[in-house]
């Protein structure tokens, strides 16, 4: 899709129009879907304009309901210098229901399981329709540095967390940088 490629070439203004003109392939074509579309487009716009450091996201080709996101480990955490790819899948009743967010890159973290599932309250019961992709990514980014040890998905990581030096070594050992696409 030419428009999307153009978008990656840093021309955010034209892109929403481009994505608007092509209908989502997978989603049911209801009025509802239209409003989800509008919301996602405006989120995309806001995200690109915000320029938050260390987070980014962009719709997959041909489907604005599936996004790929990237977060980088914050400075002064054991995840410093690492970069993780995530997938975000938006339901048809977004934003009233949260998107499904998974790590695509393996992440050694107490609240991320081996399949990349994330245990984060705002993606489940604490979801609010006022959240958006940007706040989700920021939340996940800060979750990296401040895990919730009390309800771990990865118990090994949870146990090792107290020893930050060892943990850092483990992160480095397991880290496979995502292929730069």
């Amino acid at each position: 899709m030419a428009t999307i490629n153009g978008y990656q070439g840093n021309t955010p203004v034209t892109a929403p129009a481009g994505t608007a003109s092509k209908q989502p392939v997978s989603a049911a074509k209801t009025v509802d879907t239209q409003s989800v579309l509008k919301r996602l487009q405006s989120e995309l716009m806001a995200l690109m304009m915000s320029g938050d450091p260390g987070i980014s996201a962009f719709p997959e080709e041909e489907n604005i309901f599936c996004w790929k996101g990237t977060i980088t480990g914050s400075k002064d955490t054991v995840f410093e210098g690492t970069e993780y790819k995530l997938s975000l899948s938006f339901p048809n009743d977004y934003p009233f229901k949260p998107p499904k967010v998974k790590f695509e890159t393996g992440c050694f973290h107490p609240n991320v399981d081996v399949y990349g599932n994330i245990c984060l309250d705002i993606l489940q019961d604490k979801w609010s329709s006022a959240y958006d992709v940007r706040t989700i990514l920021i939340s996940i980014q800060s979750l990296l540095g401040e895990p919730n040890i009390s309800s771990p998905l990865n118990t090994q990581a949870a146990q090792l967390w107290s020893n930050q030096e060892e943990y850092r070594k483990m992160v480095e050992k397991l880290y496979k940088p995502p292929p730069s696409a």
Binding site: A46, F96, K126, S128, A130, T135, N148
Partner: protein
């Protein structure tokens, strides 16, 4: 990006309520929130600086009771006074020269001073309900109108200001009905302090001085120095309501939201229509369109901004707007609820 910024401000509060044991994080987001709120408030205040300056100054002055005192004590304020005085004098001379010529007799001076004081009195009751920020505008307008009672010199812009004042007066009356006089009596009086100073300085022109000072009030709100923005004053009616909310609730950022009202719904990103812009569903100040509100009511019924359930009907805020629109809006939200 207004809607975006609003999301910003509301989201941290939501993060805050996480009971996941992430205390650190909660602290941080609380701090973040505080910072943002402060920043926005400052921004807002500085935007309104032109409007509010007078009020703030005046509070101080009132405390000190005597303008002369205040002039000595608050040096940094003096320039603005002086500036204003200069401007005021100029205008006064150009517009009301004939008037001052006619009524220049020394016998006039006591009356006019008296007049000044009564005016500040009325003013005070009029605009007190509008408390904090844009109090100046209300008081100014009212003054203007009353002023017209005693001298019939009309210019175009005065006519506009009058219409406006009438509008404001209505609202103020409405407000008076529901609100007791809040503590901020001082402001309007203070507005007249510079004038008093002037009359002290130039006892031979008291009438003129008084008149001009009142004039300043009329377009002071937008100002800092131009009556040319008068057309903008049509926006003013929205301010008293805002203020009211502010004074009643003490939720400064709700006020902010109202002022920088989002142009589109943060949930569905559709433009807010007229009804939506008058729709204040939650005390936290988070606003959204009626459709999204309905949908949320049907679902989990919690405000996206603060996650508290939407229990009560959207209320007082609208009540304050106009008597007529109140019933309309309530009935509408009711019908939406029953439909669900």
């Amino acid at each position: 990006m207004v809607s975006d910024s609003i999301i910003n401000s509301s989201v941290p509060s939501a993060l805050n309520s996480k009971d996941f044991g992430k205390k650190k994080r909660a602290n941080r987001s609380a701090k973040l929130k505080q910072c943002k709120l402060d920043a926005r408030r400052e921004q807002w205040l500085s935007q309104g600086a032109g409007k509010t300056k007078g009020c703030e100054e005046n509070k101080d002055n009132v405390r000190r009771e005597f303008p002369k005192h205040s002039r000595k004590t608050s040096n940094e304020r003096e320039p603005s006074f002086l500036e204003m005085r200069g401007r005021v004098e100029g205008i006064g001379e150009s517009i009301h020269h004939h008037e001052s010529d006619m009524e220049l007799s020394p016998a006039n001076s006591p009356t006019s001073i008296l007049l000044g004081s009564t005016e500040s009195g009325t003013n005070f009751s009029g605009s007190s309900s509008s408390s904090s920020s844009s109090g100046g505008c209300c008081s100014g307008c009212i003054t203007e109108e009353e002023e017209d009672g005693d001298d019939g010199c009309l210019d175009d812009w005065e006519a506009i200001a009058d219409a406006l004042a009438a509008d404001d007066l209505n609202q103020n009356q409405n407000q008076k009905q529901c609100t007791e006089l809040p503590p901020q009596h001082g402001e309007p009086i203070t507005q007249f302090d510079p004038m008093r100073d002037l009359s002290n300085l130039k006892p031979e022109h008291p009438r003129m001085v008084q008149r001009t000072a009142a004039n300043t009030g009329a377009w002071r709100p937008d100002d800092v120095f131009r009556p040319q923005t008068l057309p903008n004053l049509s926006k003013l009616p929205s301010f008293p309501a805002t203020d009211r909310k502010f004074s009643k609730r003490g939720v400064p950022w709700a006020c902010n939201n109202a002022v920088n009202a989002p142009s589109s719904c943060p949930i569905c990103c559709e433009d807010l229509d007229f009804t939506d812009t008058k729709f204040f569903p939650c005390l936290c100040g988070f606003r959204l369109c009626l459709f999204c509100h309905k949908r949320i009511i049907e679902d989990d019924g919690r405000c996206p901004g603060c996650r508290k359930p939407y229990e009560h009907e959207p209320l007082e805020v609208e009540t304050s707007v106009h008597g007529g629109s109140l019933t309309f809006r309530l009935s509408r939200s009711c019908s939406m609820n029953t439909r669900s």
